[in-house]
């Protein structure tokens, strides 16, 4: 059992941040624009698309892991890339979980922007693209919230990370998989300590995102 203040814990913590941070950025950069388009454009089947998006909130991580495992396994279509049991595969698996959450929260955020604001933006002559971008900026607090929820899902994820990462020490071990492993080994105190580190790391990231939310820096 290692020391909580050791280099090993730091390395696992940094990898957790790296994987969940990348998954959040990748998932947000896909989910937020998709959510904005679904929320602001009128098209046939919009209600069904929204229902499917919200249903995907409950997308099981093991299914996400299974999909990525299949894609990157030796017999899968991307097997030759050799990405299985790497942080990249973990990022892809978590991204699949982040996309529906960020898209769904964005749909709600842009839909709730007052109609008079949307009308005014169009009335002053904004192009359709400018309308979407301006409404997204008006919904800034909601969009950062989407990223926060996405990050929360990614950092707390264990099933998919274990499946496609393999919990390899020094390579794919993150805080959640380490906690699971230490618990199985009966190191409850140490696992609990890692849990506290996980919550503190998540708290620090949420504080940063809250700062962005209030300051509207982006």
């Amino acid at each position: 059992m290692a020391d909580l203040f050791s280099y090993d814990v730091l390395q696992v913590t940094l990898l957790s941040l790296y994987v969940s941070g990348c998954a959040t950025m990748l998932g947000s950069s896909i989910g937020i624009p998709l959510g904005a388009l679904v929320g602001l454009k009128e098209f046939g089947g919009k209600g069904a698309v929204k229902t499917i998006t919200y249903t995907m909130y409950g997308f099981p991580p093991v299914i996400s892991g299974l999909v990525i495992y299949y894609l990157f396994s030796r017999s899968g279509p991307f097997g030759s890339l050799g990405l299985l049991f790497t942080p990249t595969a973990m990022i892809f698996a978590e991204t699949l979980l982040v996309i529906p959450l960020t898209a769904g929260v964005t749909i709600t955020a842009v839909t709730e922007i007052d109609k008079s604001i949307k009308d005014t933006i169009r009335a002053v002559g904004a192009t359709p693209r400018q309308c979407v971008l301006t409404v997204m900026r008006e919904a800034w607090v909601g969009l950062v919230m989407a990223a926060m929820i996405g990050f929360g899902r990614a950092i707390a994820e264990v099933g998919a990370a274990y499946m496609v990462g393999g919990n390899i020490f020094g390579e794919t071990r993150v805080l959640t998989t380490a906690i699971m492993m230490e618990t199985r080994m009966g190191h409850f105190g140490y696992a609990l300590g890692l849990g506290v580190v996980l919550i503190m790391v998540a708290g620090a990231v949420f504080m940063f995102l809250r700062y962005l939310q209030e300051k509207e820096l982006l």
């Binding site: 007052d114 008079s116 604001i117 009308d119 005014t120 933006i121 169009r122 009335a123 002053v124 002559g125 904004a126 192009t127 359709p128 400018q130 301006t134 900026r137 008006e138 800034w140 509207e216």
Partner: protein, 245 residues
């Protein structure tokens, strides 16, 4: 004077409700054309069709004699020549200066020209000291004057006002009405269409007035005739104050 706006036999329905029925009128440059009527008469729908935010189910909307449609791909280019102020003060969640700059920056104007016009408008609004404050910290009257400036700072040919001074204190009503007069006086090629249920405001601002009732225009006349010698008995009753809106 030339024709700025012309509506020909325009109909608009929302489900079973006929919001606008067979409406025709002409608004000329240099004038404020008023559309008076009670809430739910279809006045705002009329303005939304002129601003190409809605398409009529039947009939034609002509701006400067050009038949236009909200469904056209270049609708936003036509809207660039139109300004609109709604009843509810609408400001974007950004600074006062950036609210003013918004309508010019989306047109890709030169930064120096934008800065110059923003400075002029801030001075006109008396908000120089609050340029960097979030516009949502302004009072309702200040927000509405800011909305007005944002809708006119890019010098549109046509200004559409939808109950733009309703629910404001008398001082702000006077200031906003003065802004309408200034807008019109700056260029003889401009026109204003004002929707209001306020008979006194119509009397103060409008050159020509239409009375709209249940989706239809029942009378259109110059201000003097409208108030002193209307053709329709309902207009006469309305002017006398026998019909309360």
């Amino acid at each position: 004077m030339t024709v700025a706006v012309e509506l020909r036999n325009v109909d608009k329905r929302y489900g079973d409700v006929a919001a606008v029925r067979n409406v025709s009128f002409v608004a000329e440059t240099g004038h404020v054309f008023g559309v008076l009527g009670p809430s739910g008469a279809g006045k705002s729908t009329l303005l939304r069709m002129i601003d190409l935010l809605e398409s009529p189910d039947r009939g034609e909307v002509l701006l400067r004699s050009r038949n236009v449609s909200a469904d056209a791909r270049d609708a936003h280019l036509i809207r660039e020549r139109i300004g609109m102020v709604l009843q509810k003060p609408v400001v974007l969640n950004r600074s006062v200066a950036n609210n003013l700059a918004y309508s010019m920056s989306i047109r890709g104007w030169d930064e120096k020209e934008i800065a110059k016009r923003v400075a002029q408008e801030l001075k006109r609004l008396g908000l120089e000291g609050r340029a960097r404050k979030n516009a949502r910290t302004l009072s309702g009257g200040e927000m509405q004057r800011l909305s007005f400036s944002r809708a006119t700072v890019y010098s549109p040919d046509l200004l559409l006002l939808d109950e733009f001074a309703a629910n404001l204190d008398p001082r702000n009503v006077v200031l906003l009405e003065d802004m309408v007069r200034s807008y019109l006086a700056e260029d003889s090629n401009r026109a204003v269409v004002l929707v209001t249920h306020n008979i006194f405001q119509a009397k103060r601002l409008c050159h020509r007035i239409a009375l709209m009732w249940d989706g239809e225009i029942i009378e259109v006349a110059d201000r003097r005739k409208f108030f002193e010698n209307p053709d329709d008995e309902r207009t006469a009753a309305f002017v006398r104050g026998d019909i309360a809106f």
